[in-house]
Point group: C2
Chain length 143, copies 2
DNA sequence: TAAAATAAATTGCAATTTGCAAGTAAAAAT
DNA sequence: ATTTTTACTTGCAAATTGCAATTTATTTTA
């Protein structure tokens, strides 16, 4: 796997990986919606197609952003879990939340309220740490 | 212009706008590479095609993220400038920088160093404010 | 003032990506 | 043993992206 990068800019290079319709949505679903199996993702509100899902998961695994493992008691179900590299995307997800709450709400009439947005804004760093710790606590039994 | 949103999730809705290969690259070029005319963008390292550029700029203008104006002394050149809504994307750009520096550098051999990354990390909020103020200072003469 | 150059696009077409629907293979449940 | 479930894969249509050439309206230059 050799990834194609457009140029030497760090920001553009990040977007060569993250800049599409699905990658950060998948990360969000893992991080805060508890999704970890192929089926979990297909049942999401966003309704990703299975072929796209398979290709994005493979790509994220190759990049070291997620891992794919089998639980010892089940050979059918795969578990997709965020690595540290994937968890390090939490600040980006949080900033997307905040920007969206302030700037997209007016355009998407069905957007849901996030009651936690006030806490998120008042102490961003603690909120980010909390999300990461919660994720690790929930998933540590699978390692 | 009615934008299509996939669902009621704020993060997914942000990505319905920002989640593609070009939008955040264009914002970055405006914010920190001083690009403001159509020609400026076409001369970038990223080498965006003119048809894509035109369509993305139009879209960003319709969403209120940038404005398109003509300088009083020149009827040929248009100026594209970030609105407050666009400037509010600065934290996302900064987080992309940091994540990229730590997690993408290993994959993109030609990625340039950002000497300011240490400052960025040590005092994120000040850095964000500084970038926004610098942008406003540079562009205020066009309003 | 006519010709050349520049800025900001638009157009046609090819290539790539995305998305839908159906199908498959292996494992687990009944 | 049969059905159901999970995790895909495949084929094809639709949409998006990208390249190269062209266009129109300004400037600039000779």
């Amino acid at each position: 796997m050799d990834y194609k990068f457009r140029c030497e800019c760090p920001i553009t290079s990040a977007l060569d990986i993250l800049g599409d319709k699905w990658v950060l949505v998948i990360i969000k679903q893992m991080l805060i919606e508890d999704k970890k199996t192929f089926k979990d993702f297909t049942e999401s509100d966003e309704a990703i197609a299975t072929n796209i899902l398979a290709s994005k998961l493979k790509c994220l695994e190759e990049l070291g952003i997620i891992t794919k493992t089998q639980p010892p008691d089940n050979k059918k179900t795969n578990l997709y879990l965020l690595t540290e590299k994937g968890l390090a995307l939490t600040p980006i997800i949080v900033e997307l939340s905040i920007w969206s709450d302030e700037n997209v709400r007016g355009l998407n009439k069905i957007m849901r309220d996030s009651p936690e947005i006030a806490i998120m804004k008042s102490d961003k760093n603690s909120f980010i740490k909390m999300i990461i710790e919660a994720y690790k606590a929930k998933t540590e039994k699978f390692y």
